[in-house]
Symmetry: C2
Subunit: 209 residues, 2 copies
């Protein structure tokens, strides 16, 4: 009531950001108007620019300014491997790790019937078309190990396996630096049931050469 | 690297919001571009509108679209009382409680030398001019009970008291609904040292009539 209408409108708008409640929105609006009008201008301009420039890569569905993103356009990537991730942030994490040189498909979410996100919203049909058209030898499922991520992976497996393409998923077990004492039962279960035989050190050394 | 430039620019811009780190900014950018482009548009427009419309009330320094805000312009408010608060949110909280009908002065912060916020940034000179020019009989200090809020209050007290105006501050003690077991030592200290004599119930009942 006491705040002018434009401030109320700004607070209401900021609440549309994920994880921002009324108190945070108030704090943000105050900060922008009182301490950082330059920052406010920058946010406004970045939103407008992103809305008008950013679209989806025609091939992998990731955000892209061009019709085809840099990864899909690169001749250096291995076109025979397709890694399926939920979000651009997941793709980014894999790229940062530097272990993978193949292509991606970004679902931009996971199956979530309550939020009206079904196979159509995730572009599963485009994924299947891609898997058929391209000379893809392996599909690597890299969805999150959450209930939703695993349900999404299971859904894709059922659709892809009949075509005979090799479908793999990331290994599950103890994370690097993990301490048994603090590990959840689910992880320990996985780590036990998928335990691997230890190679003899001399054999490993020979394999390295 | 993998994200297009406009997405990176959006993430960088969102990090200027208080309390938003790289992970939150990434989540927000993804949400705006993938799930809520309408919301993004709304935020962009609200920021532009607020930046161009919102200024400070000439009298109380609160945010205002008009030269004088609704409270300062109201004939119903008691012009003899001036309540000093740190932020518009504090003012709002007092208005919500509905206990106060006087005027306000909003400092828009507290003294914070490390952030280059001194008396000039808080408009202390305007506050003093206001206290002298208007027929003000009481100045109520309602800054936060944090170190910075109290330092700010002490600073104002030193400047205002010589003029002979009655200066008061909000009562300190146990909050309503507070449980002793969970109260911090500072609050318990205040509550003990400022304890009040209990009125006899019959006397209170008589005073109510």
């Amino acid at each position: 009531m006491a705040d002018p209408r434009a401030v109320e409108a700004l607070k209401a708008a900021l609440r549309r950001l994920p994880g921002v409640g009324p108190k945070s929105a108030q704090r943000m609006a105050f900060h922008l108007l009182e301490r950082d009008r330059d920052g406010a201008r920058q946010i406004g301009e970045a939103i407008v620019a992103a809305l008008c420039k950013v679209n989806h890569c025609r091939r992998c569905n990731n955000f892209s300014e061009a019709e085809t993103c840099a990864i899909c356009a690169s001749a250096k990537r291995d076109a025979a491997r397709l890694c399926i991730v939920e979000t651009p942030a997941d793709l980014e994490a894999i790229e940062q790790a530097g272990v993978y040189q193949g292509m991606y498909f970004v679902l931009m979410g996971h199956l979530s019937p309550l939020d009206d996100i079904g196979p159509a919203q995730l572009g599963i049909d485009r994924l299947l078309a891609l898997a058929k058209a391209d000379p893809i030898g392996e599909i690597i499922l890299a969805t999150n190990l959450t209930t939703e991520g695993q349900a999404t992976a299971d859904f894709i497996i059922d659709l892809v396996q009949p075509s005979g393409i090799l479908v793999t998923r990331l290994a599950r077990g103890m994370p690097m630096g993990g301490e048994l004492e603090y590990m959840d039962p689910g992880t320990l279960n996985q780590a036990f049931s998928e335990r691997r035989e230890v190679e003899s050190h001399s054999a490993a050394a020979r394999a390295d050469n």
